[in-house]
Symmetry: D2
C-alpha cells in the first residue's frame, strides 16, 4: 500500500506530529510506503512530492509548522483540478490520501471522497471551529501564547494606568479570545459571535479604573461592533502618508481613547500565535490523530475524519466536520464573562 | 448563605483558579459570604480561617499553589475529628463546605457528606488519576513542565552519547510519564501500571545508539521492575557517608550503567512539576470548576463532585471519584510506546 | 534620613528590583525611611505618595512594571514645576530623591541636581540607548521576548514560503533589533542608525527563497528607508474605512509584496516587549543597581547615576548618561549582519 | 587554509553558535575549509571527523548541545596522545585548530600551543568560572532555567509551609547559585567559596516562618558545611535497599528536618540546567565569539582565547583563562545575601 499525505491551509503547531504518527505506525506496523505531497492541494495537482521515511519524521514532533509546506490552493477552483489530481495519484501509485487541514482542505477532501478517491481527513485549526471534535491541535498552543502575552501586558497596563487591547486570531469563532481572555484574566472579551457595544466597553474601562486596576481587553480579529458604532472619522496621517489604524483592535483603541480620554494601545499578536513548538496537549493529540488515521487506512475506513471525543480518538464522517462552524455557545461566553470581566 | 472553602493534599496549579471562580460568582451572582479554611482539613478541625472576598481572589488566577494553604490532615484519624469539624462549622455559621482536593481530601468529604454535612467536591490531582473526570487541573501544567525538561535533555544526551533518565511524578498512575514522554519524544516510558524489564530497557538503549541517537527514558516514580530485577548490590559511599542513589530513576541509571557500560544519569523533576503558574488549560478548567461548584451549591445539589466530560462541566457523585483509581489503560500505553519508543 | 523614590517614563522589567534593592538595604543596613512617589515626576509635583517598607518590597522582584506607577510628566514644562517639587520634598521631609528612569527622567534629575536637590539616578531603558553603562535592565528581557517570537515565526515562514517581518522597539537605536535579530537568526536586520534600501531587502528576500529557506526580517520601529524609497501609493481601504498599514514594518511588507510578488506579513510586537516578569540578567542587574544606589546615598555621593561597567557597578555623573545617545556602532552592525544575514 | 574545530567537556548552550560563527565567516569572508572533529579531543586523537559547511551550520544557532559531540578525553593522559594528534592534524591537512571548551579543554589547547600546534581557544563553561572573561555563554541560560524552577517552587513552599532546597550546578564556584538565588528571591544561598553553618541555616528557616513566608534555599552542588557539621547518622533504607539521600542538597534537607522539625525537600536540577535552546544573551555572545575566533585565525593571532570584556570581544592569552579559577568574591556574596536573604 502506498499512501500520500498533505497539509493544507494556515500552518498550525502539531501538523508534524500527525505526519510522524501516520508514517511511524504505517511503516513499523503495516509496512506501507509514503509519499509527501508538498504545499497542500498544490502537491497532488502539480505532482510536487517529497519522500517520507522513518528518518525524516523521527525528529519533527517538537517542530512547529509543517515539513510538507502548505498552501490555500483549491483544486475545485482550477481547470481540470480533480482530473489532474486523480491522474497524479494514479501516476504515483497512491492508494489512499491523508489530508490534514481545516475547513477548506477537508471540504476538498469530502468532495474527492464523493468522487471515489480514498481519503482520510485529520482536522487542523488554530481557531478550534471545526465541528464534531472537542478540540483540534494548535488551539492549545495558540491559547498559551496569547495568555503569556496578556500576562505580560498586565504589568504595563497597571504601571501606566492605561487600557490595553490584545487582538487575537478568530475570524468567525471566538474560542482563542475566550480561552486566552479567561486564562489571562482579561477584563473584557469580545468575540465574533456576540456584537459588542463600544459604549459598554468604555463604561467597563472606566469602572475598572474606578476600582484601581487597569483593564485588558481581548478582542478576536473577527469581532464586530453593534450597528451604529462604526464611524468614519478623519484619521491623522503618519510620516508614511497613511493612518495609524489597521484592524478592529486598533479601531477600538482609537474609539476608547476618544470616548474616555484614556490613552489606549492595541497589540496584534498575529503570526506568533500559530508558529513555534507545540504545547504538550497538542503534541499528544496530534500524535494520537496520526496513529488513528493510519489505523483507519488499514481498516479501509475511508471518508472519515479523526476527532477527539472526551479522551478518546473517534472517527466521524468527513462531511460532519465542515457542515457547520463550531462557534462559542452564548451561555459559555455569558457565564465566563459575567463574572470575571 | 455562608460557605467554607478548603484545599487539601499536595499543591497543584489551578487551586487558586477554583477559589476565585467560586468566590467571584458566589458574591456577584448570589450574594453569598465566604470563609477560607486554612491548611486543608486542619482548618475546620482547628477553626483556622481567613476572609475571602472579591479583592482577595481578584489577582490569584495566575498564581500557583493555594492561598488557603494545604495539609494532609485527615479528621477521621484524629480523636473526635468529625465532631470538632461539625462544631467549628456550626460556630462559624457555615452552611456548605466546598472541598478541593484529591483522593484523600475527597474521601473525607464523601464520609462527611454521609454524616450529614453539606459538601461539594472539586477534584484536584497532578497525577490525573481521579476517576469519572476526563482531566483534573494541574496535570496539563505538570506535563508541560516535564516536556520542557525532556526537550532540554535531548541535546545533552546527544552531545554526550549518554542515556538520560527523567523521573516524573506518578506513584500509582503513569499519566504524567505517558503524556510527557510522548510529548518529549522519549525513547522509553515506564509506568506503575506495567512492570518493566531492565534487560529490555538495556536492549532498547543499545538499539537507540545503534541508530545514532541517544535515548531518553521517562520513568514514573512508582514504576516497578519485574520480579527478579531487584538487586541489592553494594553501593559505594560518598563523602557524606551515604550512597548516591535515591529513587527508582537513580536505581535504573545504575543498572543501565552496569549492564550496558554507558554512563547514565537521572534527573528527578520533583516539586518543580507541581509549582508555579498554571497553563491556559488549567486556568480555564479550574475557573469553570469553580463557577460550576458554586452553581451546584445554589441549586442545593450536594454530595457532588465537579468533573470534565468532553468539553462540558458535569456533576458526579462524590463517591465515584475515589472508588477506583483511574490508571493508564494497557492499550493506550502499548499503542503509543510501540511506535514512538 | 528620609528618601523619596520615583520611576518615570515607559515601564520596564526590573524597575521593581531596583525599588526593592534600595528599600531593603536602606532599612536593614542604614535604618532609613522611604516614601514612594507615584507616577514619575507627577508624584513629587502633586505630592502623590505611597508608603514603602520591607513588607511592600519583599514580593516584587519577579513582577514586571513598577509598583510606583509611571508617567511622562516633565516638571520643567509645568508652571512652577521645580518650585512645587522643592516645596513638596520639603513638606514630606525628603532628604534625597532617587529617580529611576530613562533619558527624560534622568534629564530632569540632572537639572534638579544643578538646582541643589540631592538626587541619585538609576538608568532604565528597554532600548539600551543610555550612555556610559554597558547595559540597562529591561533590555535583556525584551530581547528574549523578541527572540522567542522570531523563533516561532520561522516555522510559519517556512511552511508558507513567505517573508515575515517583525517590528520591534527602538525609535532611535537599533539594539533590540540587532540582538533579537542575531539571536533569532533573522535574515535581515534594519535599524535606525543605517538607512535601508528597499531594493536590497527585496534582493535579499529573493536570494533566500533561492536557497530554499524563508526570510525573517527584523525591523526597529525607527528604521528609515533611503531617500527615494518613500512612496505614497493609494492604499485600499478596509471595512472600517481606513488603510491596513500602521508603522514602518507594515509599510515594508507592502513594498516587498509589491516588488517581489511574495505575500508578506508584519507582526508588531508592541507592548509585550516591555511587560512581564524580568529575565535573570535583569533581576540581578536591577537588584545590584538598587543596592549601589542606596550605598551612594549613604556616602553622600549625589548627582551620580548607577552604571554597569563589565561586571562591576560603577557610579558616573548623572549628566553623562544623557549627553549622547548610545547607538549601534556601524562595525557591530556590519559584522554581524554581513555573515548571518 | 583548512581549519579544524572541536568542542570538549560538558555540553553547554551556545556551542553551536560558536561553530556557526566560525564557519560562516570563515567560508563567506576568507574562503577557508573546515573539518569538524567529533567528541572533543577524541576527534583529533582518533581522526573522527565530520564535514562542516554553510548548509550544516545554518540552522544550528537555536539548538542546545553541540553538533560535534563532546567528551572528556585528555590526550596528555593517553599514550602518544600528542603525537597522534599532530599526525592526524597533518594527515587531514589542518593548519589551525579551534578548541571550544572549559578548563580541561583549554588546558590541553594551551599545552599544544606550547608544542607548536596553532590553536585558538573559545571559553565555554556553564559555571562561569573561567578567568579573564566577564562571562561565558551557557551561564545565562543556566541561570534562567534555575530561576524559573525557583519561581515555581515558591508557591509549593508557601502552600505547604515547608522549606524547599534547590541544588544547582557549581562544583568549585557559586556563580549559578548566586545569580539564580538572587533572581529567584531565595532566602539563603550556599556556595563552595564560603563554608556554611547548618545551625545558621536552621535559624534562618525558623526566622522566615516567623515572618509568615516559606524559605527557599539554593545550594551549589559543591557547597561545604563547616567543620563539625558533618554527621554520619544511620539513614533508613528504602524499598530498593538504599538510603534516600544523594548529594549535598538532600543531606542538608535531612539536617534541617532533624533540627527544625519542618519537613524539607530538595530538588536537584541536574542536567536540565545545561541543555536546550540558549537564551538571547548566550546566542549573541557565542555568535560574536565565533566571528572573532575566525578573525584571529585570519590575523595569525594564535595561542589566544576569546573573551568578553564589558561589551567588547577581546583576545587574551590562552593560559590566562585557566591559571586561576574565577570564584565569587566574598563582597559580592556578602552584600547580596545580607539583604535579600
Amino acid at each position: 500500500m502506498r499512501i500520500g499525505i498533505l497539509t493544507g491551509g494556515g500552518d498550525c503547531p502539531g501538523l508534524n506530529g500527525v505526519i510522524r504518527g501516520v508514517v511511524t505506525k504505517g511503516i513499523k506496523e503495516y509496512g506501507y510506503e509514503f509519499v509527501g505531497f508538498r504545499d497542500g492541494w498544490k502537491g497532488p495537482l502539480e505532482a510536487l512530492t517529497m519522500p517520507l521515511d522513518l528518518a525524516t519524521v523521527k525528529p519533527i514532533l517538537a517542530k512547529g509548522g509543517t515539513i510538507l509546506g502548505s498552501s490555500r490552493t483549491n483544486p475545485f477552483k482550477m481547470e481540470n483540478g480533480v482530473e489532474r489530481i486523480k491522474q497524479n495519484l494514479a501516476d504515483q501509485g497512491i492508494d489512499v490520501l491523508i489530508a490534514i487541514g481545516g475547513e477548506d482542505t477537508l471540504g476538498v477532501a469530502t468532495k474527492l471522497d464523493a468522487l471515489g478517491v480514498k481519503v482520510i481527513g485529520v482536522p487542523k485549526t488554530i481557531d478550534n471551529d471545526l465541528n464534531n471534535t472537542d478540540f483540534t491541535f494548535g488551539f492549545d498552543t495558540s491559547v498559551n501564547i496569547a495568555m503569556e502575552a496578556i500576562d505580560r501586558l498586565h504589568t504595563t497596563a497597571e504601571s501606566h494606568h492605561r487600557p490595553l487591547i490584545v487582538e487575537v486570531m478568530g475570524r468567525h469563532a471566538g474560542w482563542i479570545a475566550l480561552h486566552s481572555g479567561v486564562a489571562g484574566d482579561a477584563a473584557c472579551i469580545l468575540i465574533p459571535e456576540v456584537k459588542f457595544s463600544v459604549d459598554k466597553v468604555c463604561e467597563y474601562v472606566k469602572s475598572r479604573f474606578a476600582t484601581g486596576t487597569a483593564p485588558i481587553i481581548v478582542i478576536a480579529e473577527g469581532a464586530i461592533p453593534q450597528d451604529g458604532d462604526m464611524i468614519t472619522k478623519d484619521q491623522p496621517l503618519d510620516a508614511f502618508g497613511h493612518v495609524q489604524l489597521s484592524g478592529i483592535g486598533d479601531w477600538l483603541a482609537a474609539e476608547i481613547e476618544t470616548k474616555t480620554g484614556y490613552q489606549t494601545r492595541c497589540t496584534v499578536l498575529g503570526h506568533i500565535q500559530r508558529g513555534g513548538t507545540p504545547s504538550a496537549f497538542d503534541r499528544v493529540l496530534s500524535s494520537r490523530f496520526g496513529l488513528e488515521a493510519i489505523t483507519a487506512v488499514h481498516e479501509g475506513d475511508f471518508g472519515k475524519m479523526m476527532a477527539l471525543h472526551g479522551t478518546k480518538i473517534a472517527r466521524v464522517p468527513l462531511a460532519s466536520a465542515t457542515d457547520v462552524l463550531k462557534t462559542v455557545p452564548f451561555e459559555r461566553y455569558e457565564e465566563i464573562t459575567s463574572f470575571f470581566g
